[in-house]
């Protein structure tokens, strides 16, 4: 595994997420996020999860973000809707808090000895391996996810539709 790829993808991902959280304009934020999703897919490829990498692009970039941009365009935001008010103290506190959290986690993780990854077993991360596990051990989870998606459909329709009778 080439470390340069890792560093490149990691830098792009983090940079784009940082850009996103500093954005006022939701479209720009969404585009930043899409780029970071792509580089995450690259990281998944480095981790030999090709199927997940493609799904990442298909689901996140291709479905979820399209939905986001659709809604942004649908809402037809004006410039003045995107005003910003600075709340420096609040933001500073948030920054400190999440900085503390990340330091804590990083300190924890860096205690892990830097073992490089083991050789992957044959068929690791292929569609067959994932599929056979999904329909045997995790069949219950699969069923519940079906229900969850149904809930999503009902919810989105219920919340999104205009009421006709008035």
């Amino acid at each position: 595994m080439n470390p340069y790829f890792f560093y490149a993808f990691a830098t792009i991902t983090v940079l784009m997420v940082v850009l996103m959280i500093l954005q006022k304009n939701p479209i720009t934020g969404a585009m930043c996020l899409i780029v970071s999703f792509f580089s995450l897919a690259g990281l998944y490829v480095l981790l030999e999860a090709h199927f997940i990498a493609v799904l990442q692009i298909l689901v996140y970039a291709g479905a979820i973000m399209v939905l986001f941009i659709f809604v942004i365009m649908f809402l037809n935001l004006k410039k003045e809707d995107l005003k910003t008010g600075r709340r420096p103290f609040y933001q500073f506190a948030a920054l400190i808090a999440s900085g503390a959290l990340v330091t804590f986690l990083v300190v924890q993780y860096t205690k892990i000895p830097p073992v490089s990854f083991p050789e992957s077993v044959a068929g690791f991360g292929t569609v067959e391996a994932i599929g056979s596990l999904m329909f045997s051990k995790y069949v219950i989870a699969f069923e519940v996810i079906g229900l969850l998606l149904l809930v999503g459909i009902i919810g989105a329709v219920l919340l999104g539709k205009k009421e006709n009778h008035d």
Binding site: I27, L55, G62, V66, F70, I72, M73, F74, V127
Partner: protein, 422 residues
């Protein structure tokens, strides 16, 4: 030769050739579209542009168009969001061209101790990759619509995204039944499984999926009858209202590139991909010399007949200019070449081919078969565009959600039952 260098060259060629093919297909398709529409509407079509009087049935027109668009002034309107306005056409075109990487052009071929596959990237989840990439195409259109800051453009972008989301579902579900038959997501496996027998190709074996997929592909490429994002009767020109010059032409090219890719995908999934009808790869390889000989004979005969037919149409003063000589320019060399090949074949007789050469011949034939099928499919796209009227937006949504989606789900159930049956 150094194997590493060879490897490098092969990878480069694999990357370059698909792009080259798309790029050559685009002007060809523009010409085909204009000529085809003219044929359908019973008019001559483009026939004015000429280089030194040579018109080539209007084939010069696409080049003239390209020249014009390239040298036009590139206007960036003042109200647009500049960055995304410039970015959008690039996204549209580049997304359209990377999809071609996983399409197999011919059967994998033994080569230099290894296997040479005619596919830039043999991804385990090829079908998903294509679905993912086609769903990226919408970003170009949506960004163009948003960045133009114009209500028509915005409406076009909005429509396009809604349309893409709706039809991607039935497209994906239609592919699933194909995947179920093939037991693999790799496109090459799907093609290999269909075999040389036309009856096993998926358009006969699984016709419902084919129908749904083709319909969804029309919607995904924003072609009539689903070209609402740019429906000029309502939205001026939809998402590319504000674009001009090269940026406009990039959208234009992206549309045709998408068409080529959709056709290639339809051919790969449902029409046997690179399979030559009734001639499977192994039979062809072992008997390559035989097939080559008779193919050349047939080609020579065709050349002679066609050339003669053209030549006798020559009549001086038909147009009164250089176009009078067109039949002769094409006809006489064809006859001569046909006769020459025929004589050569008769003199040489059938000659045995080395294994490498046989393999290459098979590969080339398969590539041409594939491209021919793609061209035919593109013609279907053009044919539909000029014969079917645009549908209304609510009809579009109803068709997608209330008809095609349930039908695609039903098809999966049918496929599952058929698989259990067998």
């Amino acid at each position: 030769m150094d194997t590493q260098l060879l490897h490098f060259i092969i990878v480069t060629l694999k990357l370059v050739i698909p792009f080259a093919i798309i790029l050559t297909f685009i002007p060809l398709l523009v010409w085909l579209e204009r000529k085809g529409s003219a044929f359908i509407q019973d008019r001559p079509g483009p026939n004015r542009a000429a280089i030194m009087g040579i018109r080539l049935c209007g084939l010069i027109h696409p080049f003239a168009d390209a020249m014009k668009l390239m040298f036009k002034e590139d206007i960036i309107p003042s109200q647009v969001h500049k960055f995304f306005y410039v970015l959008a056409p690039f996204i549209a075109l580049s997304v359209a061209s990377v999809t071609f990487l996983v399409i197999p052009f011919a059967a994998p071929m033994p080569f230099g101790g290894g296997v040479l596959s005619f596919q830039a990237a043999n991804i385990n989840a090829g079908v998903l990759y294509i679905l993912a990439m086609t769903s990226m195409g919408v970003f170009g259109i949506m960004l163009a619509g948003w960045a133009s800051n114009n209500k028509f453009a915005r409406l076009g972008g909005l429509r396009s995204s809604a349309q893409m989301i709706s039809y991607e579902l039935s497209m994906g579900l239609a592919v699933i039944s194909v995947i179920m038959w093939a037991g693999s997501l790799a496109l090459n496996d799907i093609v290999s499984l269909q075999g040389a027998n036309i009856l096993r190709w998926n358009f006969i074996y699984d016709p419902l999926a084919c129908l749904i997929f083709i319909t969804a592909a029309f919607a995904e490429t924003n072609r009539t009858p689903f070209d609402l994002p740019e429906g000029e009767s309502e939205l001026v020109a939809g998402y590319h209202t504000e674009y001009s010059s090269m940026k406009f032409s990039m959208f234009f090219m992206a549309e045709y590139a998408n068409m080529v890719i959709a056709s290639a995908l339809i051919v790969t999934l449902f029409f046997g991909g690179w399979q030559i009808p009734f001639l499977d790869t192994n039979t062809f390889r072992t008997n390559a010399d035989y097939y080559l000989y008779y193919f050349l004979v047939a080609a020579a005969v065709c050349c002679v007949i066609l050339g003669t037919f053209l030549s006798i149409k020559f009549k001086k003063g038909r147009f009164g200019d250089k176009r009078d000589y067109e039949p002769l320019v094409f006809g006489v060399p064809a006859v001569v070449a046909g006769l020459a090949i025929f004589c050569l074949l008769v003199v040489l007789g059938r000659f045995p081919l080395p294994l490498e050469a046989a393999n290459w011949i098979v590969a080339v034939c398969q590539i041409f078969t594939f491209l021919f099928k793609v061209l035919l499919m593109c013609w279907v796209f053009i044919w539909v565009r000029w014969t079917v009227p645009r549908i209304r937006y609510d009809q579009l949504m109803d068709l997608g959600w209330k008809f095609m989606l349930p039908l695609a789900m039903l098809n999966i159930v049918i496929t599952a039952v058929r698989m259990l049956w067998q």
